[in-house]
Amino acid sequence: MTLSRRSFLAMCTGASAAPFLIDPRPAFAQQTPKKGGTLRVGFYIEAATMDPHLSGSKIDRQVYHNVYEPLVTLDVKLGIRPGLAESWQQPDNRTLIFKLRRGVRFHDGTEFNAQAAKFNFDRMKTEPKSVRKGEVASIEAVDVVDPATVKISLKRPDAALLATLTDRAGMMVSPKVIQERGAELERNARGAGTGPFEFVEWVKDDHILLKRNESYWNKQGGPYLDRVRYRPIPDDTVKLQSLQGGEIDVIDYVQPRDVAAVKADRNVVVVDVPSLADFSYQVNHARPPFNVKALRQAVACGLDIEQIVKGVWLNVGVPANGPIPPTSWAYDKTIPPIKRDLARARAKLAEGGKAGGFSFTLTTNNIPINIQEAEVMQAQLGEAGITMKIKLVDSATLLADGNSKNFDLISYQWSGRPDPDGNTYQFFKTTPGTSLNWSGISNAQIDALLDKTREASSQADRKKLFSDLTKILQDELPMIFIIHPIEPKAFSPRVQGYEPIPDGMMRFKDVWLK
């Protein structure tokens, strides 16, 4: 099953209060599911760690969402649903009370309860290597009210916290495994989760194997698969050929250049999963030439984003109007992406004191699609009288240049978070020192808006605030927003029951093999 660009755009434009999504169920769920089989999944890279509290890699999350479970989960419309917590209450904007599901056991046989939840939150906050510290920074204390109730007290209002708890920060790990196994959990997650699949083994550089959790608490639907086997296949073409050759059943991503050909292949089912991602360029406000607002605006007006999305990304995504993707409830479809306007670009050049044009350097990853995009941008800006040099670097250098603010314009590809806060706050809030705010923007109006988005309790109020923010960002330009990409995933026709959730994570609980 595939989704055409037209349908995708129609869904995007149709998304107002309700986010757009693709519902693949008619294609996948017509038959009665059956148990058995091994699902073979190809990823571009190997996982980094099996400890969700220490994980900083997107690929780890793909495995976690089948082994571990968060307190709350996302549905296909990005709504928040009960997970290990069967309900929650917010008596005030600084308190969150979770009623936990009873009868849930970790794979090691120990019981999941309020004590285990508290243990996990405390570890995320205190473990020196915890990568989750920033995500749970607003939590003051976690108290056990009774064996099935935890109360989370917040230092400050944090409307984004619930959405944050749908991923690694909300995933519960067996305290017994952490205490007994310690650092070994990074390589061996046996017994550690509560999810529909249990970790079996990780043969480094070769595969990760999961098996069905026979005592899974949720008796509705799956898990149906006997096993799930993840394999790293770094080359995209070979990964695709492995799917076409029947060696694997699922691949996590199809490159835009391959999408059309794969959709034409009857032996492969492509599902276009709209993502939460935001691919853009951070603009360095801290040094010339982009410490001058008019010159930032000249570049934005000189670029034809629609053409970039069409010609470089082959429409596997939509032009971005800001950091918030069309999948989000906070997306404002009334704000168009910045349109190309060469006359305005020239006027802005004159306003910025560079009527004859100026020169700057774009730093970007040395990968084919980034190079193509940079070359198109170079040509487009050339027509506006702006000279753009291209500096190609590997990821490590890109991160080093970004963190040290050693750039003019730098590529930034963010995988996105379910709450718009995750796509905005850490990038645009005034932050001294090293942060993801590589542009160095420091704007009192933006700071105030960002704080308000965390304090506001109603979604409608927050949406309004994010719309205001998007408009200011289009004017101030800490980033030049390019595309919200689609993440096409490809399956063997044997694979049934997959539900694409826009966070891009592949949950296999209800997946079965024909």
């Binding site: 900083g56 020196p128 990568v131 920033g134 060696e247």
Partner: protein, 300 residues
């Protein structure tokens, strides 16, 4: 030499922009966590101190731990060396099986159709990029005919048949490229030897062409071939980066590329040390073979 290699690599790596902690925690903005990690791994120390500590550990036989996965470097490397070694030996075997008959035939039947086939093959093998040949082989034998696995690795010592099947396509890819080089080298050195006086004498004595080649010419023509093979073996032990990447083989080549991208300093240093040792070992082997092929070398 090893000291020069390791010092050079250490300095070059640390002078390259990029930070292993940034790569590990690309999604995190928490500067405190990053600083803690940097301190824990000793990356906050001056470069000279880091180098002296690394050398000190090396002298005790400790290559340190990988920054990325925390495992000892020696474990990472030893896990990866076997697939690379098996691939190197199999590719070498394939290249010899293909190159010797083709090189000899090309030289003996110089200017004929057989020679043209041999030289065309050699030209094709040298010009064809590895990745392209690999993708063509995958498409033919993996996707279309489905005879051989497309990617991944099974240890031939544990499952001989599955193991050989998993290595077949990468070994053919490497083996054919190597065969092309060996064919050309063997042909030209055979042609040179065939023009020697002792060959004319042997022919005058009425020896058959095959006897002349086998008994006199081939051994004399082997020195350049052994040199080429020795250098190639050293390179292959260090990992055939592109082939391992394309076929998702967990070998040393992929390990070093991933380690460089992640700025995993101890791991890169460990692998480079191994590659340098591989080169030294293969050069030693070549020197020993020189003595066996041409006893005069032993007496010099």
């Amino acid at each position: 030499m090893l000291v020069i290699v390791t010092s050079g690599v250490f300095l070059l790596l640390h002078l390259t922009p990029g930070d292993p902690i940034d790569v590990m925690m690309a999604e995190s903005a928490d500067a405190t966590v990053k600083e803690n990690l940097r301190r824990e791994l000793g990356l906050d120390r001056p470069l000279a101190v880091q180098y002296i500590r690394w050398m000190g550990r090396l002298l005790r036989g400790d290559l340190g731990r990988s920054i990325r996965n925390g495992e000892p470097v020696i474990e990472n490397v030893s896990r990866r060396i076997r697939p690379s070694l098996e691939l190197a030996l199999l590719a070498m075997a394939i290249s010899l099986v293909v190159a010797f008959p083709m090189g000899i035939l090309s030289a003996v039947r110089r200017g004929t159709g057989a020679d043209r086939v041999g030289t065309t093959f050699a030209l094709f093998g040298i010009c064809m990029p590895n990745f392209l040949l690999a993708l063509l082989l995958i498409f033919l034998f993996g996707v279309t005919l489905r005879w051989l696995p497309i990617s991944g690795y099974t240890d031939p010592l544990e499952e001989p048949l599955a193991g050989m099947r998993s290595l077949a396509l990468p070994a053919i890819t490497l083996g054919l490229a190597l065969a092309a080089v060996v064919t050309r080298t063997l042909r030209s050195s055979l042609l040179e030897a065939l023009a020697e006086d002792y060959v004319r004498t042997a022919r005058a004595k009425g020896l058959s062409e095959w006897k002349i080649i086998r008994g006199h010419v081939l051994k004399n023509a082997l020195i350049p071939v052994v040199t080429v093979l020795g250098l190639q073996l050293g390179t292959l032990i260090g990992g055939a980066v592109i082939t391992e990447y394309v076929f998702a083989l967990p070998g040393v080549g992929r390990l070093v590329v991933d380690a460089v991208f992640a700025r995993d300093y101890p791991l890169v240093q460990g692998v480079v040390l191994l590659i340098a040792l591989g080169f030294i070992a293969s050069n030693l082997l070549v020197d020993v073979l020189y003595g066996w092929i041409d006893p005069r070398i032993r007496h010099r």
